[in-house]
């Protein structure tokens, strides 16, 4: 046998073996294993021998060798011990109020965010969970060859008929077709309605119940309509709606054949009314709906749902759909659709899709939330663990005594985990309070939450999830510190033990560095977002938006209204327009100077002669519209950008020039206005054409002498109702309208701000933990220094120096990362703020304050300790 004293078997295999093997057998078996390993080495390569060694170690695991569990111990005292642990835990919680407070605060802040996320996910997954056989319901979707590469929830209209007639494998094929929309006149008031056409099988497929009406026949006859309960009450008040007729403008007379029960839960299907599908061909013949019965190349108005009891029929249907694709589209066709099947339970939350039937939250959002919750909890947990180990010294004597009295490792672990669970349950109570008092009201105010229909109402089931979540958090957070506590030897613990080695401080520091970096990034980003939005909203728009009231014409004649309004004393001026500037709506028009030129795409607003004055636009050259001359709609005004694009040097050059519009009419430029921000604020100003087209007006912009009083508004409403008794006056203040438009940005500021405060709390906890820890380790050093004459200031600096470097590095890394990250979105804005040193400074100061507070207090504590107390035992 070759002598190979240097070559050792794999260390990890040995460790693993030692871990699982019973102590009394370990030595002899391991000796045999090593002999065997040498035998391998004499004939095989080291790698081969190593793997054989691993095999041997693994094979040794059996009932003879595995460690015995503690089953043989006395079980009777568990209940007594449990009582004792709870008692000691409560005593500890009460004794160290500061420590408990910090832990509870840190945990509850992070936990409350997780609770919001849990509630939100519950809300999202509650969609359509009330349908019987809901997991057998599918719909057909498609992807198209042109346009965006996104699955689209609608299908070509003829597909439904085709499947209903030709494919027998699936049941309850239900078509939906949009188009039950229009206004209904009711008591002289017009109310808009929005609904879907659908088949009778609707009630077989979905679990919607009828309050009145017969579900098997309600949708049979043409021009039958079923209303949701609130809609029915709106129209018919206390009368029985059954059998009544509704005249929907543009569609015809419908007979009410049913009223729907309240929905049993949330559904991705959104509608106010359902009309019988047999109405569709009739309306198509009358030209009231566009005839799609044979259009395979239009796929944006119909949805198709069905039930499949067997998985096989899905496969067959997919084959059938692929055949249809080949049949109706070929390589030359401009539009090609490929069909896919989607399970109803995968719709919301589900993949991002176009043409959804209602609002639906994309699933990546849900996954993102889950990841966020995990990250938050991991940070909070690690900090808790750090803080507990830092404080462990005070508990070591107790551990020592317990060990001497016969506590086993699992018992000690259980004790400390129990304590952590208790703290985490207290934190849960605080978190639930935070959730209900602050977070839910705050989230409900966010405009996205109303857009996406979030309902954050925790019910019993969700509260149970909360408790489960917090117990898991407690077990997780308590486990690591408890391992350390239980592993300390009794004798060491009683001797007034050494604190664990410094080797893990490096790890802790880098952990805190990461947290600091994240906080700095978040602080900088949220203040940047905030500034950018402030900047955009308070920016000079190039037009006047104060004291202007925008009135939605709702089909009312503009001239009539204008004449009426101009007689009111507090109305300055009235102008008309087809769109309101700066809230993201505009039209395009193609323009060229000569027939031979390439067509240019300009933005286009239709306005009148008062527009320039009303919005206080500056006329650079030429004149305003003159409505009195004939052919006034052939007059154009352009902005400076358009001037440049058309190649004019000077505004006066352009005046009098003719342009050819896309309908090949020629129009004359009569004036040039200074650029103003008619687009969304983050976009550059584009070339613009103003045209005088009063028939296109949809808005009256009313300039008032001052901010209007309630009385004045009532006066305006009175004038309006004289002209149009059917509609209510709908108006908005221009400046508010613009602010509303940017409210989503405020949501982002709000969320980012919240998360940055949260991350700062967590990072602060981390700092506090490591500060406590370092100070405790260096307590003796501090004592000696004091004896030798160090001043308190010196000692604070000594202890704080390391942390100063830490937060400086953190701020630098955080700032540079956030510079890169924020530049990406800031560059999308045409008008943006600068990323200045001041923002970095603010972030640094903020972090510094938190650090000084956490570390300073610990350092001062150390300074104030009497050296004789620390050094007494030396």
């Amino acid at each position: 046998m070759k002598e190979t004293p240097d070559i050792k078997p794999p260390k990890w295999a040995d460790r693993f073996f030692e871990w699982y093997c019973r102590n009394e057998l370990t030595e002899s078996i391991q000796g045999d294993l090593h002999e065997r390993y040498e035998a391998y080495l004499s004939s095989l390569s080291k790698r081969k021998a190593d793997s054989l060694y691993w095999r041997d170690v693994l094979l040794f695991m059996n009932r003879h060798t595995l460690r015995r569990t503690y089953t043989r111990q006395l079980k009777t005292n568990w209940i007594t011990m449990f009582n004792n642990y709870t008692l000691v835990a409560f005593r500890n919680i009460l004794r160290n109020k500061a420590f408990t407070g910090i832990n509870v605060l840190g945990l509850s802040v992070s936990m409350s965010i997780c609770l919001v996320i849990i509630t939100m996910i519950n809300d999202q997954t509650s969609y359509d969970d009330f349908h019987k056989n809901g997991d057998q319901i599918y719909r057909v979707t498609h992807r198209r060859s042109t346009g965006v590469d996104l699955a689209i929830a609608t299908v070509p209209a003829p597909l439904g008929k085709k499947i209903r007639e030709e494919f027998p494998g699936v049941e309850d094929v239900v078509r939906f077709r949009r188009g039950v929309s229009g206004e209904i006149l009711d008591n002289g008031k017009a109310i808009a309605i929005n609904g879907l056409f659908t088949d009778t099988e609707f009630f077989d497929l979905f679990q919607f119940e009828l309050r009145s009406g017969d579900r098997s026949t309600a949708l049979d006859d043409p021009f039958s309509i079923i209303l949701k309960r609130d809609i029915a009450e709106k129209f018919f008040k206390t009368q029985d709606p059954m059998g009544q007729t509704l005249l929907i403008e543009g569609l015809g007379q419908f007979k009410v054949t049913g009223v729907l029960e309240e929905f049993p839960g949330k559904s991705h299907l959104e509608f106010q009314a359902l009309a019988s599908f047999s109405t569709v061909p009739l309306l198509e013949n009358q030209g009231k709906l566009s005839d799609l019965s044979n259009s395979w190349d239009k796929a944006s108005a119909s949805w198709l749902y069905f039930k499949a009891e067997q998985k096989e029929s899905l496969r067959d249907l997919q084959v059938y759909l692929d055949e249809l694709t080949d049949e109706f589209y070929n390589e030359e066709s401009e539009f090609t659709a490929t069909f896919f099947l989607q399970k109803m339970t995968d719709i919301t939350p589900g993949p991002l899709m176009g043409n959804q039937i209602g609002q639906s939250m994309p699933n990546f959002f849900v996954y993102g939330l889950i990841v966020l919750a995990f990250l938050i909890m991991i940070c909070a947990t690690l900090n808790y663990a750090n803080l507990s180990t830092a404080r462990a010294i005070t508990r070591l004597k107790e551990v020592g005594i317990r060990k001497v009295m016969g506590s086993t490792r699992p018992q000690l672990i259980f004790q400390f985990v129990l304590e952590a669970v208790l703290i985490s349950l207290i934190a849960l109570a605080v978190a639930i309070l935070l959730l209900n008092v602050m977070l839910i009201p705050a989230f409900e105010q966010l405009s996205i939450s109303s857009i996406l229909g979030w309902e954050l109402v925790p019910d019993l089931n969700i509260y149970l999830q909360f408790v489960l979540f917090s117990m898991l958090t407690g077990i997780f957070t308590g486990f690591f510190p408890s391992l350390y506590m239980a592993s300390v030897q009794a004798i060491q613990a009683l001797k007034g033990a050494r604190i664990p080695k410094m080797s893990r401080v490096g790890l802790k520091k880098s952990l805190i560095l990461v947290q600091l970096v994240i906080s700095v990034i978040l602080i900088i980003s949220s203040s940047l977002v905030h500034r950018q939005i402030k900047y955009m909203i308070t920016r000079d728009y190039g037009f006047e938006k104060d004291n202007i009231l925008n009135i939605d014409l709702q089909g009312q004649d503009f001239q009539l209204l204008k004449t009426e309004l101009e007689q009111v004393s507090f109305v300055d001026k009235v102008s008309g327009a087809n769109n309101i500037p700066s809230i993201g709506r505009h039209d395009d028009i193609k323009v060229r100077r000569f027939v031979s030129d390439e067509q240019l795409e300009f933005n286009y607003f239709s306005v009148d002669e008062n527009y320039v004055d009303n919005l206080d636009l500056q006329l650079l050259a030429g004149s305003n519209f003159n409505p009195s001359i004939s052919g006034s709609h052939r007059q154009l005004m352009i902005n400076e950008q358009a001037l440049k694009t058309l190649g004019f040097e000077d505004p006066s050059e352009a005046v009098g020039v003719n342009l050819i519009l896309e309908d090949s009419t020629s129009s004359k430029i009569i004036g040039v206005v200074k650029d103003y921000n008619f687009m969304m604020l983050y976009m550059d100003i584009k070339p613009l054409i103003l045209q005088h087209h009063p028939e296109e007006f949809e808005w009256a912009q009313v300039k008032l002498a001052s901010n209007p009083s309630i009385n004045q508004i009532t006066q305006l409403e009175h004038i309006w109702s004289k002209l149009d008794p059917n509609h209510d006056l709908e108006f908005e203040f221009f400046d508010e309208q613009i602010e509303d438009f940017y409210s989503t940005f405020y949501d982002i500021v709000y969320i980012v701000g919240l998360v940055s405060i949260l991350s700062m709390v967590i990072a602060g906890m981390g700092l506090l933990a490591i500060a406590t820890y370092t100070v405790r380790i260096r307590l003796k050093e501090v004592g000696i220094r004091k004896v030798l004459g160090a001043r308190p200031g010196d000692i604070v600096i000594l202890l704080g120096k390391g942390f100063f470097v830490l937060i400086l590095v953190g701020t630098l890394i955080g700032s540079s990362l956030s510079f890169l990250g924020n530049k990406a979105w800031l560059d999308l804005f045409a008008y943006r703020i600068d990323f200045g040193l001041d923002i970095m400074g603010i972030a640094f100061l903020f972090v510094l304050t938190v650090t000084v507070l956490t570390i300073g207090i610990q350092a001062l504590k150390a300074v104030e300790t009497n050296p004789s107390e620390i050094l007494r035992n030396e």
Partner: protein, 109 residues
Amino acid sequence: MRFNLGEFEEIVLLIVAAQHNEAYGMSVTNVIEEELKRPVTLSSVHTALYRLEEKGLISSGIGGTTKSRGGRRKRIFNITAAGKEALLEARNARSRLWSLIPHFVFGES
């Protein structure tokens, strides 16, 4: 049969008896592999040893060490009186069965 000995157990027990006072896991394995040309894993030998010990056929104690074991002591196995009885019984049972085989079966004239 009073002692329910498996075939492998019997071999192991025989080797333990043969290596009087010097039998331990690795030595038994070596004999099985070298003398009987039968590949065997260390753990199965150990398992057999422990099982025999449970049945009271062998006893174990801590013994000396060698250099290649890195100072770890051996667990030395010795056959007990019951073990000896079991081996004898097994041998007698076999010879009885052998004696029942007619001569012509093995072709002896």
